[in-house]
Symmetry: C2
Subunit: 224 residues, 2 copies
Amino acid sequence: MKTVKVIEINENVFSKNDEEADKIRRNLNENGTFFINVMSSPGSGKTTTLSTLINMIKDRYEIGEMDVDIESTIDAQRVADATGVRSLQIHNGGLCHIDADMTARAIEEFGVEGLDLLILENIGNLVCPAEFDTGAHKNVMLLSIPEGDDKPLKYPLMFSMCDVILINKIDTIEYFDFDMDKARDRILKLNPNALIIPISGKTGEGMDTLVQWIDSEISKIKSN
Amino acid sequence: MKTVKVIEINENVFSKNDEEADKIRRNLNENGTFFINVMSSPGSGKTTTLSTLINMIKDRYEIGEMDVDIESTIDAQRVADATGVRSLQIHNGGLCHIDADMTARAIEEFGVEGLDLLILENIGNLVCPAEFDTGAHKNVMLLSIPEGDDKPLKYPLMFSMCDVILINKIDTIEYFDFDMDKARDRILKLNPNALIIPISGKTGEGMDTLVQWIDSEISKIKSN
C-alpha cells in the first residue's frame, strides 16, 4: 500500500447562530409545532421521500413544508402537487446552507399557526448545512444506496449531528456495491444514538418506521 | 397546480481569487502541465472514474492526483492503490470548497515538475466548489444517473462553469427514471459549449471519448 501524504489547510468562516435557533424552537414549542430539518446530497431522494411521508400522515396532522434551493421552485412545487399541503420555496441567494436567521425569516413569512409538523427540505449538500443549527427540533438525513457506504467516513459532521438517518433507495441495492452492515457500523461509531431506517421513498418500503418516529415526536411536543 | 410562494434571502460571502488562479495557470503552462478540477455530488463516482481514467493513460503520461476531503484519506489512498500514481490528500479543515490560494499551497507541497497531467478531485458538493476558480485549465463534473435529470435546474452554476460533463453510472440507467435527452437539453441550455459524455467509470464504457479529450488538451498545452 503506497503511503499518501496529508497536508492540513484550515480556515474558520462559520459563526454561531445557536441563540437564534433556540428562539425558533421556543416559539414552535409554544405553538405545538414539531420542526424537522431534512438534509442529504443532491439526488438522494429528499423530495420523493417527503412527498410519500406527507401523504401517509396528512389526514392526521396539519403539515407545512419549506424548501431551500438556489433558484428553482421545482421541489416545493413537486411537494405541493404531490401532497396538496402548503409549501414555501426559499431562495437563499446561491449559498450552500440556510442558517437560523434565514429560517426565522422564512417561518415568519410562511406562518406556522395551527401546524403540527413543519418540514424544512434543506439544500442538497453534505457539508455546509451540518454547520448551521436551523432551529429544528430534530435533524434527519438521507444517504442513498448509489452514493456508497463510505460516506459517513467522508462527511462525519453530517452523520454525527443527525437524529435519524434514512438509508434510501433500498429498492436498488442489488445493483450497487453497498454494504449495509458497514454503513450501519460507520454511522453508529460516529453517532451511537442515531436511529437508522432503511427505506425506499419511491416504493414506501420502511416508511412505517419513520411515521412511528414522527408520531412519537409530535406527541412529545404536544404533551409539553 | 397549486401556486408556490417564493421569498428571496440573499447574502454575499464569496470573494474573488481570480488573480491567484491565473498565476497557477501561468506556472503550469510554463511547466507543460495540464490541470483539471473534477467536481460532483458525494457518491457520483469521482474516485472510481479517475482511477479508471488514470489506468488507461498512465503509460503515456506522468500523472499526479490531489484529493480534497474534510478529514479522511480514503480517496487519495484508493487512487494511489488502484493506479500507482503519486497522490496527495488535502484536508481543508471542514470547508465546503477549495480556493486558488489553498490549491497553490497544495501544488507547492506536491511538486509538479515533469507532470503532464495534474488532477484535482474536489470535495463532493454541487454548490460551493463552483464559486471558486482553483487555477485549473478545465473544469470537469460528474452527474450520476441515480441523482436524476433535474440537477442542472437546481445547481445551474456548477453546470454552467464546467467544460466537460460526464453522465456517470450509465450501466444502471434501466433502474432509474433518468431521461438522457432532458438532461442534455437542460445542460446545453445553461452551457451550449459543454462536452457531454455518458460513461460508466466502473465498466469503462464511454471512457475512450474522455481520453481523446484529455489527449487533445495535453497536446495543446505542450504546443504552446
